[in-house]
Symmetry: C2
Subunit: 431 residues, 2 copies
Amino acid sequence: MGLQPMLSAHGLKGRVTLEFQVPVNEERIEQDIQTIATFTETPGNGASRPTFSKSWRAARDYIVKELESAGCKWKVDACGNLHARPNAIAWDSSTWVSGSHIDSVPNGGNFDGVVGCVAPLEVFRAAKEDQKVVPLELITWAEEEGTTFSLGMLGSRAWTGSLSRDQLASLRNAQGQNYLDAGAQHGVVPDKIGVDKIKPTSIIGLIEVHVEQGPGLWNDKKPAGIVNAIAGRRQYSCVITGVANHAGSTSMRDRRDALAGMSEILLEFEKLAEHLGHRTVITIGQLFPKPNAINVINGEVTFTVDFRTPVTEVLPAGDKGIHKIVEDVCAHRHLIYALDVTESLPAIEMDARVCNRLAKAADKIGLKQIPQTISGALHDAAILAPLVPTAMLFVPSRDGISHNSDEFSRIEDIAAATEILAEAVRDRRIE
Amino acid sequence: MGLQPMLSAHGLKGRVTLEFQVPVNEERIEQDIQTIATFTETPGNGASRPTFSKSWRAARDYIVKELESAGCKWKVDACGNLHARPNAIAWDSSTWVSGSHIDSVPNGGNFDGVVGCVAPLEVFRAAKEDQKVVPLELITWAEEEGTTFSLGMLGSRAWTGSLSRDQLASLRNAQGQNYLDAGAQHGVVPDKIGVDKIKPTSIIGLIEVHVEQGPGLWNDKKPAGIVNAIAGRRQYSCVITGVANHAGSTSMRDRRDALAGMSEILLEFEKLAEHLGHRTVITIGQLFPKPNAINVINGEVTFTVDFRTPVTEVLPAGDKGIHKIVEDVCAHRHLIYALDVTESLPAIEMDARVCNRLAKAADKIGLKQIPQTISGALHDAAILAPLVPTAMLFVPSRDGISHNSDEFSRIEDIAAATEILAEAVRDRRIE
């Protein structure tokens, strides 16, 4: 990736020096991202940084070194999350919190999570250059993606008390080590889990910077977006049973084709998502047809449904619609089905005051009318939101591509988000 | 399976003795089918008789033993096909031919192929009891299914000269043996392949009895059907490429979902098949979505298309329709595709004189207005049809189930087909 020219599509030229005192430095941000990108188990083939792996630790060590240079103290909590504050700010005083994660999916991108750690790091460095102290704590959460220990947002869940020591002990990585054993040499202290945890009153608010992982901002040519809700999610497992039969000798009217049933359901789901509105999405992502042979009608298809909406009230309506579509399609095609909910998470509204503060901060640095948006993906912010005032700031993802080595965000956009963050956490006021 | 009562749904009571002199014996037919069913590599889990396996040879040996008892001589040709005639009929005199196969798909049914070998065998036995000699040759073709050596109808293709010794040498079974080596101990003589082959002028006509493998006759409560055409087939491989992306953060309008594209194509194929008529069928049987994960939109789907129609003229129209559907769906969904034809076989009309003779034979034994039908599946008859006057006689398959251990046909229906065959091959007249 090359350093982007300051004269961007968004007309940001000169903004950094004219509007904002803290000199956010794009070259440092790019250096951080390029360096962390080198810490991967799959060089040349994207970021592969499983939590507690050597490459993951190398990335954390790099951030720690930069934090120390920026005049910060740091510690790792009993759950494995890295915390850092300016030396001048006591651990028990109240601050803003900003952070994200450095673990990745296999062969993932160089921006997912990393951007949200680099942004507060750069705020510390810029503030130091400006001889200011910002009331900010950086947290790098352990295991957000869920691909190392089969469950996402482990670090934030454990630190907020929604995962017990026993539960962590039951989660194992590909090497068969559980979370506690694998994390021991990286700061995890099993005996203190449930004790060393969040004190919500000491947190003014949480602002997580993250790449959008969708094409909305990129397509609309917006430099950033303020997330006002994280979508709720229901996931289902569905098995449709028809009759496997000869593809040549079974007439169209005599078929009970399970794959045709799934196909009709998928197209009906598309219409349902449009009908429900509010950026509702419904996806059939995984499917296993049987017998899956060129000359046989599929007698069975097992598939997953992933349904998300940022409006909690839409969840039951969508659930009803999904059930009705599966029932109706199977009825008229003479198929049998079993549809089970495998996960149900409510939608989470972000804190209006924090969103407003981010809008004002953007306005102040010359980025007018930053759009509000929703996050379809889950993040550590969703775990913290019920406990502390929370919002997120999205950076555009080129063509919306993420969880892919082609993932890309412009350094200038990351710098803009960093400036908004710096402006927002400049003092302890929330409004 | 139990012996079916003679008073059937088709009102056949008394037909055997009243209308037909040769006493076709249902108990012998049932005994044949039950015995051959025991020759399987997967007892209790369907018929598994790969060509040249021990179980396949045991089935052939059983048929040979029965043929000898029925006063027949037999031989195996250089390609591995079993031939048998009454002792009184010279090998070089002209006869009718009837036969099918005893190899099976893995975990297949007990009727597919076997019925077409047992029917002419029973004609020989019945004729002997009746002290008659019928001008008939039985052929049990080697390797019809294509699951042993990855290509179907090998025995008939080789005997009719459309597969060379070199081609047979290149086809290998699961044990790595080629057709010639594996067949050596069962009668295959590599040096004589291409020499020991069909002499069309010595064959009056071919009648293959086979289970329907579709539900048409069973649903319409017909005891048999005369096949007047074997469907032509085009097969395709198609790859649709969209963009793999996050199922939560990519809005419905921003998606380029390859699976949604395939689903729409499948439903359009259903409409196209109805529009083309003539019992045209189009099937998407095999598909491989990528990355096939619950929370990711599929960026690529590779799938097969199997298109069959009994009317040769419909093949180019269907081909055009298939291309247009794939093109149109991909265009409006912003997907890229590659569609390649992997097989193209013309439709094959059966010989009208042989069909007529079968209809008259059915009429004579009291089965009025046997329906004419088409075969969607390919059979050895399709290989012989360009060379000799050919037709097929279908026996109803319960619920159309085939290539499945649940495959079932009524013994009384098999006996009825055997009687029609016996009547048709009673003398050397074709009209």
